[in-house]
Amino acid sequence: MTIDAKRNGLVPISALKYLFKKPHTVRYPKEDLEVFPIEGNSPTYRGFHTNDLEKCIGCGNCAAVCPASAITMVKDENVEPKRKFAKKYRPIIDYGRCCFCAQCVDICPTGSLQMSREYIHTFHPDLSIAVEEEPETVAKNFVWRPDLTHSDNPGYVRLEGDLLNKTIDFDRTDPRVEPANERKLSFAKFVHTYSREEAEREASRCLGCGACVEACPNQLHIPEYISAIAKGDPKESLDWVYKRNPLPLICGEVCTHQCEEACVVGIQGEPLAIRWLKAYSASNVDDYREALNIRPAKSNGKKLAAVGAGPASLSFGYYAKRLGYDVTIYEAEKKPGGAMMWGIPKYRLPKEELMKDINAILNLGIELRTNVRIGKDILFGELLKDYDAVFVGTGNSKPLTLRIEGENLPGVMQGLTFMRLVNEEKAPDLEGKQMVVIGGGNVAMDVARSSVRLGADVTIVYRRRIVDMPADPEEIREAQEEGIRVVEAGVPLKIYGEKSVEEFEYAVASLVPDPKGGRPRPVVDDNSPRKKIKADYVIAAIGQHPNLDFLPEDIQKKIGFDGKRVPVDDYGRTNIKGLFFGGDLSNRRQDIISAIGAGQRAAKGVDLYLASQK
């Protein structure tokens, strides 16, 4: 071997020379370690925490991941979070338990929680306090809320660019999407449902913090259903969805997905595809009733009527049926679904997917009477008399008109009217036609993209900027990919034409910023430039209002209908006993999931009302 381990009594004495050498020990703070590039302890030291209280969103992931249970979330009304869906909870750390492992820092989705290089903490207990009270004093001095004032000496940090070192997976697994030039040729669904592998990979990015639940208009059990997918059980997942949403596949395809805006993974990366995951679990269960073992409760003999077979009434019917009521839904058209049937194009929601959800509800024993127009075939007063309670969910069916010159020319249509023609497959041949769509909402996008599929050359004219459009950003992006031009700040002025539409004139408005920080206001004056574009069709998709003509006027007055909305309370109750409203005609947000929520709450309201009637 290399060393000579021969006994030598003198050599150990040579160690004496170290008496005169520089000692190992560092006389802190006079001296400093010369190891690190900065003075003091290491640049990545895991000391006491700091937390940017404004950046923190109170999601509680740090508390959930803490292996020492040292973190509790405590509400503070004084913190003012910057983000839309942030909560007012902030982490409080018990340093009697903290083991400084930094797993909380690794998982913090905003990067607000960091660790500093501070590690010395002393306090002077009041010596006069009783011994029994000492533990309390000690506890008080070792439990505190970290904030930026505590330390300006960052140690172990995970900066925003440091995504690889975080324990969150920020990269979204996108579903397969047909390329723009192919999808614009047909009405076939172009976003493919996740495969099992893709769904599980995407679901496994969920932190389970539930920030999405509060953003959802009907507070679905989102973390639970995503977790079930990650476990590989779409049936359990659908069970969770069904507790608060009986139209899972429809919402899985076309929901406005507020939840994804709130998703904490989206703060530094891409949010979870919550909507597509719901579509995955719904499309992987063939028969909802069979798989989820859904049974109606024993009939209690009470009869309910719902007017309009849209999402609000279907949800109302489903939850009321499960409470034991006999429900009859009246629908003026020949098919149920309302706006989902006649408004949403097939490339977003194929009709068989729509009918799968609706049939699952109707098969529960709910009577659907189509082609019955209330107010004409049956008077509304009769309904009120014949049924124990009546729910109205007829939605917004009266489109707004442009109120400009030339709008009565053939070739000018309202968005919903056009979509109905498209869905009935009665739309005119648009091959090579010039088309102008006015509006920036989802209906405008549906009209424009359907027209592209019918062969038209489409221009969208919107009075504000693209970023201000109320439509889903991905709808706008996909529309542009399909070759649709968007004109910003365009205010319609006049439609020219002899027998039909020939030209469309608009003014380029100047946008006045809103002092409150809202969307800018378009202003048109005499100096605004005017432009004309050739047009064979002009479609106005600028919103719609409820049509309550089927109600007698005294009822309209009594419930306080102002032409736009019916005021209701949380349970959909109106001023008339036994009359409930829900869906777009009373909701603040006008989308399917809000309507489902209104229907579910109204079913509860009906139950409360009829229980108190006895």
């Binding site: 009594g9 190891v35 690190f36 292996p67 324990t167």
Partner: protein, 378 residues
């Protein structure tokens, strides 16, 4: 157990008696102790008392997420915590089928070898403590602090690094760290001859250790003894060579064998292996490739390890250190079993080995066997 301080015999008052070594005794860590039945100066019977602190690591792990456990397990072995992290991560990666990037594997080897050196320095120091040469622990613990400084820079913590993560390591090596490591290795190379002079050529140490606690190769294998203790008895067995893990098969190093099987050989064995560790680290600094230091795995709340069982092991400074992981496919382990190298030595072989030994040789035996009570109270 009822305390019987002395067993009075008929002939002499102190002919036979009962003696406690530990807890809190030079040479013993934790709550572990030996109850020695003495016959004069000689040990007649040995009863190990594991202390039964019931730290319950294995049970605690079943209640925590797979990655949460990484904050817990370094505490199983205090002098060399990284072996826990690496063995655990390697097991999880095997079950989940995760491929670890080359750079991460090199970083793991660097961490393991540095930790091994730190643990060996503990060993030198301990030998000094057991024989009365207190300069040795002062030197060794001081030098070990330089290793801890580097760990602090790399991981943010001095002793419990919590640095490994399934799929790699938590963060990349900071800029300038490898240069500092290189400087440290130069320093250690200059220090090793000093240690030789102070400890290994020292006639007193040699007299106290040579021929003490002889362990034959057959006995070592029979009693499940691994690591430097086994090699000091002349058996060439090292997991790093025999069943290479990480990138040990890309590194050129020897397995030194002393072979005498006594306490001196065991101490000297560690001194040789320290030189090999320096050699390995130098190669790592030269060969470490660029690239990612980890691959992404699902977040802690959704990280499900596929059902199965796997025994992953590493060569620690004491011998084979292993984790037997059982998963039922959930976010938490179903069962984890920790195999520490001291388990068979200190609880079973000690009952045989120490019989007939003089009382002053007991701490020397304990120390050169590098007994670490956390290995069996886990």
């Amino acid at each position: 157990m009822e305390l019987r301080p002395l067993n009075v015999s008929s002939k002499s008052k102190y002919k036979t008696y009962e003696l406690f070594i530990g807890p809190n005794h030079p040479g013993i860590e934790g709550n572990f102790s030996y109850v020695l039945d003495m016959d004069g100066h000689k040990v007649a019977q040995v009863t190990p008392d594991p202390g039964l602190l019931h730290r319950g690591f294995e049970k605690l792990m079943e209640r925590r997420l797979w990655t949460q456990n990484l904050a817990l397990i370094p505490r199983i072995c205090v002098p060399e915590p990284d072996i826990n992290e690496v063995a655990y991560c390697m097991g999880v990666e095997h079950l989940a089928g995760i491929e670890v990037p080359k750079r991460a594997q090199y970083i793991r080897v660097i961490v393991l070898e540095l930790a091994r050196m730190g643990a060996f320095l503990f060993g030198f120091g301990g030998l000094g403590g057991a024989t009365g040469l207190y300069t040795a622990p002062n030197w060794a613990f001081g030098d070990r602090d330089y290793i801890l400084d580097l760990f602090e820079w790399l991981t943010g913590g001095r002793v419990y690094h919590i640095y490994q993560y399934p799929g790699g390591v938590k963060n990349d090596i900071p800029e300038g760290w490898l240069d500092k490591l290189s400087e440290l290795l130069d320093y250690f190379e200059s220090r090793l001859p000093e240690y030789d002079k102070l400890i290994f050529k020292n006639p007193i140490i040699q007299r106290r250790t040579k021929g003490v606690g002889y362990l034959s190769a057959e006995d070592a294998i029979e009693n499940g003894i691994t690591g430097p203790n086994l090699r000091a008895s002349g058996v060439k067995w090292d997991i790093r060579k025999a069943q290479p893990y990480l990138v040990y098969d890309e590194l050129d190093f020897d397995i030194p064998i002393t072979g005498d099987g006594d306490a001196f050989a065991r101490a000297l064995q560690r001194r040789y292996e320290m030189a090999e560790s320096i050699k390995i680290l130098r190669q790592c600094i030269k060969q470490i490739p660029d690239g990612p230091h980890r691959v992404k795995i699902p977040n802690p709340f959704q990280f499900r390890v596929p059902a199965g069982a796997y025994y992953s092991k590493v060569e620690s400074s004491k011998g084979e250190f292993g984790y037997y992981l059982v998963s039922n496919g959930d976010v938490k382990p179903y069962r984890v079993y920790v195999r520490g190298p001291s388990y068979s030595v200190s609880l079973f072989y000690a009952q045989k080995a120490m019989v007939g030994m003089r009382i002053e040789d007991v701490p020397v035996w304990i120390h050169t066997m590098d007994i670490c009570p956390p290995d069996f109270d886990r």
